[in-house]
Symmetry: C2
Subunit: 167 residues, 2 copies
Amino acid sequence: MGRLDRDPTRPVYVISVAASIVSVHPRTLRIYEDEGLLCPARTATNIRLYSEEDVRRILWIRHLTQNRGVNLAGIRILFELEERLGTRILETLFDEANAFDDEQARQASKAESSDLPQALGAAPTQPAASVGGASSGTTQATRPPTSGQPPQDASNRTRQVVGADHH
Amino acid sequence: MGRLDRDPTRPVYVISVAASIVSVHPRTLRIYEDEGLLCPARTATNIRLYSEEDVRRILWIRHLTQNRGVNLAGIRILFELEERLGTRILETLFDEANAFDDEQARQASKAESSDLPQALGAAPTQPAASVGGASSGTTQATRPPTSGQPPQDASNRTRQVVGADHH
DNA sequence: AACTCTTGACAATGGTATTGACAGGGTTCT
DNA sequence: AGAACCCTGTCAATACCATTGTCAAGAGTT
């Protein structure tokens, strides 16, 4: 069922598909994982499988890097914060952007996107733990629930993969 | 009384002194201001005057950039967050570093500093407002209270200015 | 067989952060 | 008056970062 799947944590996309959905280079996804920002599940044969939550998380990374200019180390801190606080900290920030003073409004106007992104998912900082059953041979990462729909702006436009309803 | 002054919000240091205290180049301080991370007071003749809170804030910036690799855009987001939330979010994060799992501990071990920094001060995003009385002709920025002592590590070692107890 | 996945390595390109220098003008202190 | 320092603005060197791209060698999938 691809993107219409009911369980957003189910690892369903191989790297090429995920990269296509979020419009990044597969190499980039591997780097995000190397940098600890992302932890896709692995099959028994070591193939990465990305879930909807992973996709959402990547979109958040893209939004922050492309639209806000935050570097990967900064994103890591933000993820850690959200996990520690257990709240949608960025959602808190961006939802109330209207309440910002003139200086803040000026900063916000620099961003290309006028959409107010919702909170990031928490960083899946745990190593992938093996759980049986979901897909035979699939290693499912344990992670806190991901919240919020990532921003839908030009740079984060998701691409519907034609004909690839399942990896 | 220089660094022993009772009021940490009082603007007392010219840029060369502040730069010396925090061991950065004056050019860098101007850039931080240009980037909206910092807003020192101004004299009637347009000279920047930095307070203890400003110094603390700069030390936080240095800690995050030098030790955590966060870029200035990332720091801006973190400052905005702390202001929005009105809590010491980074203090929350770093104080509980011991409770992190193995993956987090691995990330933390990459940092040079073993000190756990306390929370950042809020971003002084308001334009400086004129208040009379504190120092004649000095423009005092209005800002939320700054919390926490910044990290004391090698890269953020503050330098006592000899013989310059007051700009 | 053909294609895709893996890790690891290398490189090109554009952007960022810091420092440094300079010009021209203004301010403060001796 | 002169020296030092402040201002804004500009330019540049240097190191680093993020992204993309390529390649090699091996493994996995259809």
